[in-house]
Structures are given as C-alpha cells and as structure tokens.
C-alpha cells in the first residue's frame, strides 16, 4: 500500500493542520510517512502545497512524482488545479468551492468549476459554509479532510484520535467542533459521490 496526497491552498489557510492529522494518524498506525511542506517567503499569501506520502514500505522521495498523486485535497478551487500535473489518471479531487481572492487577475469562478467538474472523480463542496454552520469556520480544512476520509488508507478511529490529540490543548469545545466538522465532511462526501 502506498498513498500519495497533495494538499493545496494559500499560505495561512490551514493545510499544515490537515497534514498534521494525516501524519499523526499514519504514525500511530505504524505506517511510514514523509510529508514535505513550505516555509518562508511563499507562506505570505502565496500558493502553498504539502506532499504527504503514507506507505507500509520504505518511502524514498519526500516529493511525489508527477502523475502519481492518488488525490489532491485543496482548501481553494484554483489552487486545486495548480497541481493537476501530479494527479494520477482517475485520481480524486477534493476541494472547497470558495475562492481566496488576493490577486487582481483571479479567474472567473464558473470557469474553475467547469474545469474541476470535467474530472470524473471530484468532490466539490462548500466546506466553509458547513464549518460555519457548525459554528467554527476555521474548521473548513477538517471538513475537507472528512470528505476525503473514505479514500484514505487510515482508519476512522486513527483520524479521530489524531484530531483529538492535535486540538487537545485548545480545549474540549474545539476538539468537538473539529470532530463534528470531520463527520459532516464524511457525510457530505458520501452524498456527493
């Protein structure tokens, strides 16, 4: 088993939190893990990505080769498309529908949606709204993680335990909000696929 995941977004949107949940769950499940991330200049409102690789065998490269990503999880629709060269044929695309507009030449949203929907295996959801309705719009990233969960090589329990562990120091309320966000994401994904 080897699963390659690309996480995409804009600096500050919380993709490293998704990565941390995946890493923690994978390590607790005794898998090998490599996860590269972006620090420094690009973090300031620029495009950022993280490569997460989970396997039951030794992993060599920290970077995923082109055409080998099993899925791309993005917190932003345009950023999702930026990493298409990495997606394997028929790979899964998961993204929030809400754009993060901090550039003047941001494309028309409908064009982005059309491009996304031209792929067969796609979960395009309003994760932000789902998180907001749960009273925590900051959990948008965890909704998206939930939406991808059924395709991950990690058990439901291991992911939930990881969320518990990572949000523990922020208090029980935040832990529960994130667990709810995760569950809601899962439900929506089932309805979408």
């Amino acid at each position: 088993m080897k699963t390659n995941i690309i996480l995409a977004g804009v600096g500050g949107q919380g993709i490293l939190t998704i990565a941390a949940v995946l890493d923690t769950a994978a390590l607790a499940s005794d898998f090998h893990i490599k996860q590269s991330e972006v620090h420094g200049m690009s973090q300031r409102g620029g495009a950022v990505q993280s490569h997460v690789r989970i396997s039951d065998k030794e992993i060599y490269s920290d970077l995923i080769p082109k055409g080998k990503a099993d899925m791309i999880i993005s917190v932003e629709p345009m950023e999702l498309l930026r990493y298409l060269p990495y997606l394997k044929k028929g790979g899964l695309l998961v993204t929030d529908a809400n754009p993060f507009v901090n550039i003047t030449n941001y494309p028309e949203l409908e064009k982005l949606y059309t491009e996304i929907k031209s792929h067969t295996n796609t979960i395009l959801i309003d994760a932000k709204k789902i998180a907001k309705n749960l009273g925590n719009s900051r959990a948008t990233n965890i909704v998206l993680l939930g939406a991808s969960a059924s395709q991950l090589p990690l058990s439901d329990d291991s992911l939930k335990n990881a969320i518990q562990m990572l949000f523990q120091r922020k208090g029980e309320r935040i832990v529960n909000k994130n667990l709810e966000a995760y569950n809601k994401g899962k439900e929506i994904a089932i309805a979408t696929i």
Binding site: L27, Q35, G40, D62, L81, P107, L112
Partner: protein
C-alpha cells in the same frame, strides 16, 4: 513510538543528544527550525543549552568557536548565504582547528524558494578543507549529527552538515537514541592553536594540509558512504544526499539495476569511486545543487572518462532535483501528465493585510511620482516583496545590509534622492557599519529603518534591534535633527510623506525610523513591545 520530526528538527534533536552546550544562529529559511526546536526543548532548558538568537551568522559562528575553545560542544546554524557572512571565521577556524566538537549546519536552497541564489555550501567545506556530511533522510539527520560531533573531536576540525530545503522541511517518523553527557570545561593543551599570527598560522595550515589524508580515510570507511550492488554495469551511479532518494523513487522498492555509490560524507572516497569507475562503462552523478562531485571526478580535458550529470547537461543544471527531473538520465520515458489548466493564474507571495510596510511603500511611491530620479535601495526581509506589484517600490535587492551601502555608493555617483529601506533586524545584522560610513562622510542619503520589532519573514523571531535603534543611531553619530520617528499608518500618510520629503531634501544623512509592530506578532509580544518602546528622541 517514533517522533514525527522535520529534517531540521531531527538534526536539532541529534545535537541535543550529542551533548551540545550551545547553538548559535541567525534565522534564515530553510534553517530556522533547527534553533527554534532547541529553544523550545524542555531537555535543552534543563541542560542549560544556550540557544538565544545571535545578531548575525558571523557573531554566531565566533561564539560557537569560543564555546568550543572552552572544550564544550557547540553548533552554529545558518542558511547558505549566511555562510558568506560568516566566511571569515569559517575559513580561519579550520586552520586553528577546534577543541570541543563544533558542527556548522548550512541549509542550502536549490530552486531559491526563499533566497537570492542557490549557492552550494559543499564548495565552502572543500575550500576550508574540512569534512562535509550530507544526510539523505530525516533519520540520517538525527544520526549524522551525533556522528559529526564525534568526528569533529576526533579530527580536531569543525564539521559541516549540509542540508537542502526539501530535507529541512519534510517530516518523517524518527527513532531517537541515547544522549551523550555534555563536556566539562577543558582548555586546549596547545597554547598556540588559537593564536593565528602568521608564525603560528603557517604551522596550523601545514597541519591542516597534513591531515587531509585522514579526512579521506574517514570518508572511505564512513558508514554513510554506502555501495549498493547492481548487475547492469553499463552505468554506475553516484548519488549524494537527497538525490539518492529521488534515484530510488524511480525503481519499485528501490531496486535499481545499476551499481550505486551513495555519498553522504566528503572529501570524496577516492578508492570507492575508482572501483565504480573500473567496473562500469559510464558514471551518472546525481546531486542536488551545483555539479560539485561531477566537476571533481570529470576529466577536465574530456579525454577518457564518461561522466554525466548536471554539468554534461544530462540532468537539469539549475533548480532543485526531483524524482521526475532525473528520469531521462536514467533512461526512462518521461510520461506526459495533465497540464496546469490555462485558467489558473499565478499567486505570488504578498505582504500581510495591515502590514506596516504597505503604508511605508504607499508614501515612498507618492514621493517617487514627485521626483522621477528617486532610486530605492532595498534589503532582505518581508519588505523585499515591495519589489513586486502592486508596490514596485524597490530598485535593488542584493544581500543583507546592502541597502544603505548601495545607496551611499549611488549617492557618491550623483544619484538623488537615494533612499535605503532596511528592516530593524537586518539593520543590526549588517546595516550599522554601512550607516557609520555614510555618517562619516555625511553622504546625502535617506535611510528608512522599517522597524516592525521582529525577524518577520522567518516567523517573527525576536529582533536584536527591538527598543535599541534610536540609541544605536545616536551612538553612530546620526544628527539628532535628522533622526525622525514615524508611524506608518494610512491616517498618517500625508504627514509621513512631508517628513520623508524634508529629509530627502536634507543634504546629508537622515535616518527615519518607521515604527509599527509586525501584524504576525502574538498579542502578548505586542503589549510587551509597547511597554519597552518608551523611545524618546530627546
């Protein structure tokens, strides 16, 4: 259970477990998290390991050498261009040698993710004639650091560990081991070792030359230089550091058909490379950075040896390697994958919403419209983003501290207005000496110190300049009538423009301190800054 650590963090844990008594560093991507890990480590606190930030890389390395002189183990950490700043002590401490183990960690940035160049620190290591270690995995980062300290004390030399961005900033599960006790104070037995007057230095340099054979011998039998046999001798592969991972990624379960020599310790193990040459028709060199190994082992006159790699053009010469970029050199077809759809626009980094630099650039751009001969000399930090739209305020950006000195040289040449923009931490890192020069000649330049009380770009670390800039400028001799404080806020725009214009018109040095804390600072830190600010120009 294994610990989930970045390459940088694994290295830092290795240093703690190697018994260091201090780490000395200046923040710089991709090296920053090494020192931060030690700063946050409970064990390090209990062991009283020094970890406070240094003012620049040169002061850092010299302090590390001082600790080594006292017999204790010390580490100094920087990004590749930081080693340029520390090059003076770096080149001389290989001549003096060390006492307590001393490791220099340098994180290179191939592809310039956060840098002005992609210089390869291995040339510096070779220049200083010291061993270099180049881990390929996070686990190796941990182990090789412990090994480096032992090697340093054995060879009585500083050891370089060279990292690259993708290893520094990638996580994996790490198994840690035992911790070595810290050294006690033990002064050097040779009185003249650290006294590099020419008559002693000649002897020390001869000694450095004499022990090169020992350095090579250590590489020949290093556990980090490994040979993996392969049946297909039509090609032999030398892969160093992280390039080894990209090589093996191309084969199912890492089963490469060619013989492979993995290099993680330099100087190059000549005997082992010779045996690869003798058994293979040609050699492919895979290395991230410059074609360092390839250049050494290639025949300069291209007569005999078939060596291919970045220099020969079989692998991309610039930019970082990845599993795809080496495919062709391995004889694989490069499969076409989906392109990035045309609808996708670029999204370059930008200054944060509410950032004080934005208000400063607004003022400078309006002044630039008033006087089209205005030139703005920039410096290293977040405000370097002022080069880009929508500001496009900065004309030059070269290295730490160059804003003031380049403005001075341009003013000497007749450019006016010549404005230097430099951050608070960059100012104390490398700007103060340049300001002194301008003050001595009273050169007509306008220096704007954009003081956000943080080393912002690397994660808002404490700045050595916080609360001290006014006193420093006064001490350097800036005329107090031309030492001005402004607060870069939109509501002050017109007032700030008027104040800066006055100083541009002053026919001598002016310093304007534009002061507002970085928006990334946590609230507690901002409150603390407000308390210590108490800056008065009187």
């Amino acid at each position: 259970m294994k610990k989930l650590l970045l390459g940088n963090e694994a290295l830092a844990q290795g240093a703690i477990d190697a018994g260091i008594s201090g780490v000395y560093a200046y923040p710089g991507t991709p090296s920053t998290e090494i020192t931060e890990y030690i700063q946050k480590s409970k064990t390090a606190k209990e062991l009283n390991i020094h970890s406070q930030w240094s003012v620049n890389e040169k002061t850092a390395m010299e302090a590390a050498l001082g600790m080594s002189y006292a017999g204790k183990r010390s580490m100094t950490v920087m990004k590749h261009v930081g080693l340029n700043v520390a090059a003076d002590v770096f080149m001389n401490m290989s001549v003096s040698g060390i006492n307590g183990g001393l490791v220099v960690v340098v994180a290179d940035d191939p592809s310039m993710h956060s840098s002005q160049n992609e210089q390869d620190s291995r040339y510096y290591g070779r220049f200083a004639m010291i061993p270099i270690l180049e881990p390929s995995t996070q686990q190796e980062c941990y182990e090789i650091t412990k090994y480096a300290f032992d090697l340093s004390e054995k060879m009585e030399l500083p050891i370089m560990i060279r990292l690259v961005t993708r290893l520094s900033h990638s996580r994996a599960g790490i198994k840690t081991g035992d911790r070595t006790a810290q050294n006690k104070i033990k002064l050097p037995t040779n009185q003249t070792q650290f006294q590099l007057i020419p008559m002693h230095a000649r002897g020390r340099y001869q000694h450095l030359v004499d022990i090169q054979g020992g350095n090579r011998k250590s590489s020949e039998k290093s556990p980090y230089n490994t040979f993996i046999n392969g049946d297909d001798t039509s090609m032999g592969i030398i892969a160093s550091g992280i390039a080894y991972n990209y090589l093996m990624e191309n084969y199912e379960d890492g089963e490469c058909p060619y013989p492979v020599l993995k290099i993680s310790q330099y100087p190059l193990p000549k005997t082992r490379i010779k045996s690869l040459f003798d058994n293979c028709d040609k050699i492919l060199v895979l290395e991230d950075g410059y074609p360092f190994i390839e250049e050494i082992i290639s025949d300069f006159l291209d007569e005999k040896r078939a060596v291919i790699g970045r220099l020969s053009g079989h692998v991309n010469r610039v930019g970082e390697l990845d599993p795809d970029s080496i495919k062709k050199a391995l004889g694989f077809e490069v499969e076409k994958t989906e392109p990035i759809p045309e609808v996708v626009s670029g999204r370059p980094p930008e200054l944060c919403v509410g950032c004080a630099h934005r208000d400063l650039f607004d003022a400078i751009n309006i002044l630039g419209k008033e006087n089209s001969s205005q030139k703005v000399f920039g410096d290293i930090g977040c405000y370097a983003l002022g080069v880009l739209d929508p500001f496009a305020s900065i004309d030059t950006l070269i290295d730490m501290g160059a804003s003031i000195t380049m403005a001075k040289g341009a003013a000497d040449a007749g450019i006016h207005p010549a404005i230097a923009i430099i951050g608070d931490s960059t100012f104390t890192h490398s700007g103060m000496t340049g300001l002194l020069e301008a003050v001595i000649e009273d050169t007509p330049i306008t220096v704007i110190i954009s003081d956000n009380s943080a080393i912002a770009m690397t994660g808002a670390q404490d700045s050595a300049a916080s609360g001290r800039i006014v006193d420093i400028c006064k001490g350097i001799g800036v005329n107090k009538d031309h030492l001005i404080l402004i607060t870069p806020l939109h509501k002050n725009l017109q007032n700030n423009i008027d104040l800066i214009r006055n100083e541009i018109n002053h026919p001598g040095v002016s310093v304007i301190i534009a002061q507002r804390p970085c928006v990334q600072l946590p609230k507690e830190k901002k409150d603390l800054l407000r308390k210590i600010k108490n800056i008065s120009l009187n």
